[in-house]
């Protein structure tokens, strides 16, 4: 009943505004690039040193020297620029990136996020996630509302090691759009056909439901 990953990306794409510089994380966030609304020009930043990321190359035109932060072969666009990793995180820290979209394992009702480490499992590293969540002024988390075992990923407190504290502003899941407010998760929209009751059940952190909650629109 909930959204597909593509639909989550599609809903997040509606948050893009003309002129935004945007950093998209690996996974669902990457898909957002496929749904940028007509007439909205955004510039994609890849933290390995590129502004103005284009689509994947046409077969046979891959360039090993031109990859994104997910190590995928990509292309440039008119107006692209390359820079080193210090400048890349410099512009991120300086708040020049307007929107960051990334995945999460858990988000707390204070806006803390955990997405890099599961105790007891091989830890691969935080990559640029800690820099991004500590620096970006506007962060949207794209994730499933519950984990594969059915447990809520929206919690009073994160149980996993944190990636960043009090930094998440908005969450788009397969069943809901929520703002993180000082008072908890504020429910803004529900997925088509998903009831407020279901969202309540699947949200373990404090959920604020005020008035009528509209269904998400996709056009």
């Amino acid at each position: 009943m909930g959204l597909t990953k593509e639909q989550i990306a599609q809903r997040i794409a509606k948050e893009l505004k003309d002129g935004y510089y945007v950093n998209l994380g690996i996974g669902i966030p990457t898909l957002v690039a496929n749904y940028i609304p007509e007439g909205v020009n955004v510039v994609l930043q890849s933290e390995n040193g590129l502004l103005g990321m284009g689509p994947f190359p046409i077969e046979g035109h891959e360039d090993a020297d031109l990859i994104n932060a997910g190590k995928q072969t990509i292309t440039t666009l008119h107006g692209s620029s390359f820079f080193d990793s210090a400048m890349s995180f410099g512009m991120i820290r300086a708040g020049k990136v307007d929107l960051t979209v990334l995945g999460a394992m858990e988000v707390s009702e204070q806006g803390d996020i955990a997405n890099w480490k599961i105790p007891g499992k091989m830890v691969k590293g935080m990559g640029g996630a800690m820099d991004l969540v500590a620096s970006a002024k506007n962060i949207i988390v794209a994730m499933m509302h519950t984990n594969p075992k059915g447990a809520s990923k929206l919690l009073p407190e994160c149980t996993l090691p944190l990636t960043g504290v009090k930094c998440i502003k908005k969450i788009v899941t397969d069943i809901a759009v929520l703002d993180v407010t000082p008072d908890g998760f504020q429910l803004l929209e529900r997925a088509p056909g998903v009831s407020v009751e279901e969202i309540k059940e699947k949200t373990s952190g404090k959920l604020i439901v005020e008035g009528d909650i509209p269904e998400m629109q996709f056009n």
Partner: protein
């Protein structure tokens, strides 16, 4: 003043067991392939490697891991490497994970003569453990120290005999920062142009930071994630 050396073996001749190395690259993009091959051939051990990633099983720093030459990795992300995981779990290999921007900025700090920098990355997380936290304008920052590496091994697109370097596309990544940070910086380049062959406006790393330079051979430039689209 002659910075040009014949080949990777000569360039790394004084890299010995136990030193601290920086290695440029992001994933397998822009890695110093020739210098790594020479290090594997030389067989130096107990190396500490500062590098954003640790290569894959059979390429990049992975080749050094196979030969058990690495004592410690200082990286931001170390996936895609089964041998790495085995050595880590068995305790043969030590790993220090650092946020990517912190890693980059600690390199830059070394090249810019700044002993330490402040970054918000990791504040409030386990990365902050034991570190000095300081609040500026209502926000917490960690004090992070400049790296102190014996050698930096970097890969550039073009270079000249004065050691000036130009990088290509996203193969730039950590390379300029590490080039500036090494006590001894060894640059391998795809094309070594004659003196004066680079436009002074286009140079990414001025030669003052580079101690040895050579033209590399047989670049494989392996792609980790080949993603393509159909012709429209």
């Amino acid at each position: 003043m002659n910075k040009v050396v014949d080949n990777a073996d000569n360039a790394i001749h004084d890299i010995t067991d136990g030193v601290i190395l920086m290695l440029g690259g992001f994933g397998l993009c822009g890695i110093p392939e020739n210098s790594i091959a020479a290090l594997v051939k030389k067989g130096v051990k107990n190396l500490t490697c500062i590098s954003n990633n640790a290569g894959v099983d059979d390429f990049g720093i992975g080749l050094m891991l196979q030969q058990k030459q690495v004592k410690k990795m200082i990286s931001s992300y170390v996936g895609e490497n089964a041998e790495f995981e085995r050595q880590l779990l068995s305790g043969e290999l030590e790993v220090e994970l650092i946020p990517q921007g912190t890693l980059a900025t600690r390199c830059m700090a070394a090249g810019y003569g700044m002993p330490a920098i402040f970054t918000p990355a990791g504040a409030g997380t386990e990365v902050a453990a034991g570190k000095e936290v300081r609040n500026f304008n209502g926000k917490d920052y960690l004090l992070e120290y400049a790296f102190d590496a014996d050698f930096a091994l970097v890969k550039a697109w073009k270079g000249d005999p004065d050691g000036n370097l130009i990088f290509k596309a996203t193969a730039r990544n950590f390379n300029p920062l590490m080039a500036m940070a090494g006590k001894i910086t060894i640059a391998e380049v795809e094309e070594l142009v004659p003196k004066g062959g680079l436009d002074p406006n286009e140079i990414h790393v001025p030669g003052i930071y580079v101690h040895r330079i050579f033209e590399g051979k047989n670049y494989e430039k392996r792609i980790e994630q080949r993603t393509v689209r159909k012709k429209e």
